[in-house]
Symmetry: C2
Subunit: 185 residues, 2 copies
Amino acid sequence: MALNKQTQLIDAALQLFYEKGINSVGINEVLKTTGIAKKTLYNHFKSKDELVLAALKKRDQQFLIWLDRRLEEADSKEKAVVVLFESLTDWFHNQVEELPPFRGCFFINSAIECGVVNNEIAAYCKDHKQQVRQLLSKRMSHLSDEVLDVICTLKEGAIVMAYVAEDKNAAMKCLPSALTLVAGN
Amino acid sequence: MALNKQTQLIDAALQLFYEKGINSVGINEVLKTTGIAKKTLYNHFKSKDELVLAALKKRDQQFLIWLDRRLEEADSKEKAVVVLFESLTDWFHNQVEELPPFRGCFFINSAIECGVVNNEIAAYCKDHKQQVRQLLSKRMSHLSDEVLDVICTLKEGAIVMAYVAEDKNAAMKCLPSALTLVAGN
DNA sequence: GTCAAAGGAGACAGACTTGTCTCTTTTGAT
DNA sequence: ATCAAAAGAGACAAGTCTGTCTCCTTTGAC
């Protein structure tokens, strides 16, 4: 039961924080949507920041599992690049069941919203990016570090373009160039 | 005198908002650093959001003028790409006098911090990205729209990598690939 | 010199925030 | 059945924020 409440809190926090931004969502809103009492929340989490970290962790797992599953079908680095940018496109267009409606990258958003004041959150966001890079590295074997860095940079850029510039096709626009780079390596 | 106060307010707001984030800086902090009274601020600006918009406008001009000056020396699209990513690298490493210490892109940050609740701010941030694209288009004539999009996406990605992932060399890592793409076009 | 406009200083209202605490009820293990 | 731990409900403290308002001083135009 205790774990159940904790899970409920994290789920609701992740959903609200991602949808509206961490600073726009108060503890009370999380409590209201879950129907859980404030005392229970502070029984499980020392502070709001700890709840934020738990939400980041949940999203971290959620995202990595989704991306890994998608990349499973790729049997070459070229195919992996295609799958990566097609997956991003599906995400931007809200065509991924496992992920809530696209509101940018939760880690970029959180780092910008909280990173200045909370170093632990900034570090976790940085770490997530590193983990995604590692996952891509695994699925794109024999790809040089240099090209992998560019692929990662294109991925981050596409997320920003999709969110800030509202260009949901940003990822697809990168695909031909990304393939050229991978092929030449 | 009136204009002078207004300029002081916008300058201080831009500096503080960019350094600490919009939501972390209250009106009172802007007033304290300038020594200007609250009544005077609300005489010039209807609300905090209007001051934010004024700060965005100032930064918009500041950034575009700086980038345009840097790109002046480029006499070909290949040279323009080199100058672009070298300029970004200088920016990331705080080697640009005209710009305050690097804290990411003020427009990405503001869109993420305020975009959900204030549509006007989100629109201005989107517009800034469009203006930078237009500037690059002017300085990289005869470059296809497709490759220009990729160059812009790399630029956004490099900013995010430099800020969130703390990789200040992100822009330089993109340069060889960017040149390959431009050359092949 | 006069007088209105602008500005300084800051109290204040009203609405938020996080986190603590009390009191009551439910639950689950023994 | 008992009894301690967990949870519900929410008051409350202490702080934050924006925006308004008052009172007083300075300044600049005529």
